[in-house]
Amino acid sequence: MTDPRHYGDGPQGPEIRIPKPNVPLIRNLLVILLVLVVGFTAVYQVEPEEVALVLRFGKFVRVAEPGLNFKLPLGVETVQKVSVQRQWKEEFGFRTLRAGVRTQYSTREYSGEANMLTGDLNAASVEWVVQYRVVDPYKFLFKVRLPQETFRSMSEAIMRAVVGDRTVNEVLTVGRAEVANEVQVELQQLCDQYDIGIAVDQVVLQDVNPPDPVKPSFNEVNEAQQEREKLINQAQSEYNRVIPRALGEAQQTIQEAEGYALRRINEARGDSSRFVALFEEYRKAPDVTRTRIYLETMAQVLPNVQGKVLVDSDLQSVLPLLNLGRPAAAEGGQR
């Protein structure tokens, strides 16, 4: 920075236009310039989420905290800043195009990242996010070249190892949380092994899908499951519709039988009481009572009978006189 300007001004000044009088002015300007350059290269600012590693002639000497800091000027000490407070995010199988209330994603070009084999040798498309922080900026900068790229490769390898040990159904449904947890644990182990200075905060599985050509048959399974529930529910509701009614009707039948029993016994008691009472009196005067009952009954019965024939007991044959019904009479007349 400083040298080109210095020389740039120098040769032009004395040689062509201006002779001696302006030499002090140039010298002053140079001094001011030098002071400015030294000042600017000695001061630097570290943002709140960062730390700065100070290198003196390439050798790491100290860590600078957020705020205004000083270093040896003119390139003797240089500074590399690392965001240690910020949470970094790596996306696999998709990229966030525009974050916002309605975040847009792009997945098409990244299917290669997402496609993997499961333990039952089926295929699945898994999209996931890894959130991590730089916990050791020294290691992050000086232990591994291209740490972020390395971290992505590690993450892909671990995810495939974990998914490769599970069935496709586990990955799609019941085992999701387990997959995420195990990836996190194993990824952290690999980070420690690589000395990369990264702490894995969280692994989040996003869309996990069967491959597109297989999707309809996965839906078919869901539909079949629904259908099963439907059939069972229908049968259950039919059961519930019929059985309580039958129970009620059974109660009704039994109650009616009990009513019958009560009536039958009561009637029997009543009848027998009546008979016994009657019989007590009958025993005192059997003949007259008998006659009375007979005559009363006859008096009740006979008036209703229209066809009555009274025959003298002395008459030997009653038949010739009788006209028993018209057909008989007509027959008799012809004869």
């Binding site: 333990g119 040798l121 900068l141 591994v144 490769g164 069935t167 690589y194 079949a224 005559l295 009740q300």
Partner: protein, 309 residues
């Protein structure tokens, strides 16, 4: 003027020499000093400001960090004659810069050599295992989902990790004289080649169909079971009620019979009177307007119709 010019030139040379004798070794670097192409002294592995003879000696910088190696995604045949795409990556570093400098010269040379070693070892390893061995790591039991039935996961002998370590060991044994060390190799991606993929999809579809059929059949079976249970319950309830009702009625009839018998069967006279009474009671109902009666004057009712005596 001439002497001033000379001084200026000497000063310039002095400055250049001064700059040329200093060099900076960065935190992530190691350096070998060469003099006319020939390495001089031990490699410098500590960072900081260093000195050398200007103009004559040259600084050759090498990485101290772990370096990346990304394998070329490749179609490889497995032992069970299936082709899979395998994409690997490895980490390596320069452990002996002098040896490295002599054998490989620079990183391009190193990458080429690593390609040979790692791709070759990967190919060998993949070719000597079935595809399932490369995919799976353990023989863990699968967690079953509803209706999936038993899933037969093939048992593995070695597994992904062992194969990986085998490649690593074999590769490491071949890099000892190159001044580099391979720290790790991982399978980044493994996938079927496209022709196989279609077959796999077909198999997956068939497998899902099987599960779907199972669900449907389970639903029908369960519904039939509930239907049968309903019918059985219905018949049990109805017949049970009938049985209870008949028992109740029977007991009542028996009781009534006993009561009647107690009343009517107490003596011959009572039996006879009961017969008479019942007969009398039945006349009004059995003899109606349509009946024709021929009555003799002998009968008790009409015996006085001829005479009062």
């Amino acid at each position: 003027m001439n002497s001033r010019f000379l001084i200026l030139i000497v000063a310039l040379i002095a400055v250049l020499a001064a700059f040329g004798s200093f060099y900076v070794v960065n935190e992530y670097e190691q350096v070998i000093i060469t003099q006319f192409g020939e390495p001089i002294g031990d490699p410098i592995t500590t960072p900081g400001l260093k000195f050398k003879i200007p103009f004559v000696q040259k600084v050759n910088r090498f990485e101290k960090r772990f370096l990346e190696w990304d394998g070329d995604p490749n179609q490889l045949p497995t032992k069970d004659k299936r082709f899979i795409w395998v994409d690997t990556y490895a980490r390596w570093r320069i452990t002996d810069p002098l040896l490295y400098f002599q054998r490989l010269r620079d990183e391009r040379g190193a990458q080429t050599r690593l390609d040979d070693i790692l791709d070759g070892e990967t190919r060998n390893a993949i070719a000597s295992y079935d595809v399932v061995e490369v995919v799976r790591s353990t023989n863990r039991e699968a967690q079953l989902a509803d209706g999936e039935g038993e899933v037969q996961l093939e048992r593995i002998e070695a597994g992904r990790n062992d194969i990986r370590l085998e490649i690593l060991r074999n590769a490491q044994s071949r890099t000892g004289d190159l001044g580099i060390e391979i720290l790790d190799i991982q399978f980044k991606r493994i996938n079927y080649v496209e022709e196989v993929q279609a077959k796999v999809y077909e198999r997956m579809i068939a497998e899902r169909r099987r599960i779907a059929d199972r669900f449907r059949s389970e639903g029908q079976g369960e519904a039939s079971r509930i239907g049968g249970e309903r019918e059985r319950e219905l018949l049990r309830i109805q017949s049970g009620a009938y049985k209870t009702a008949q028992e109740i009625k029977g007991r009542a009839d028996a009781e009534a019979t006993r009561i009647y018998a107690d009343a009517y069967d107490r003596s011959p006279q009572a039996r006879e009177f009961y017969g008479f009474l019942k007969t009398m009671e039945s006349y009004p109902a059995t003899v109606d307007a349509g009946s024709q009666l021929i009555l003799s004057t002998d009968s008790e009712f009409y015996k006085y119709i001829k005479s009062s005596r």
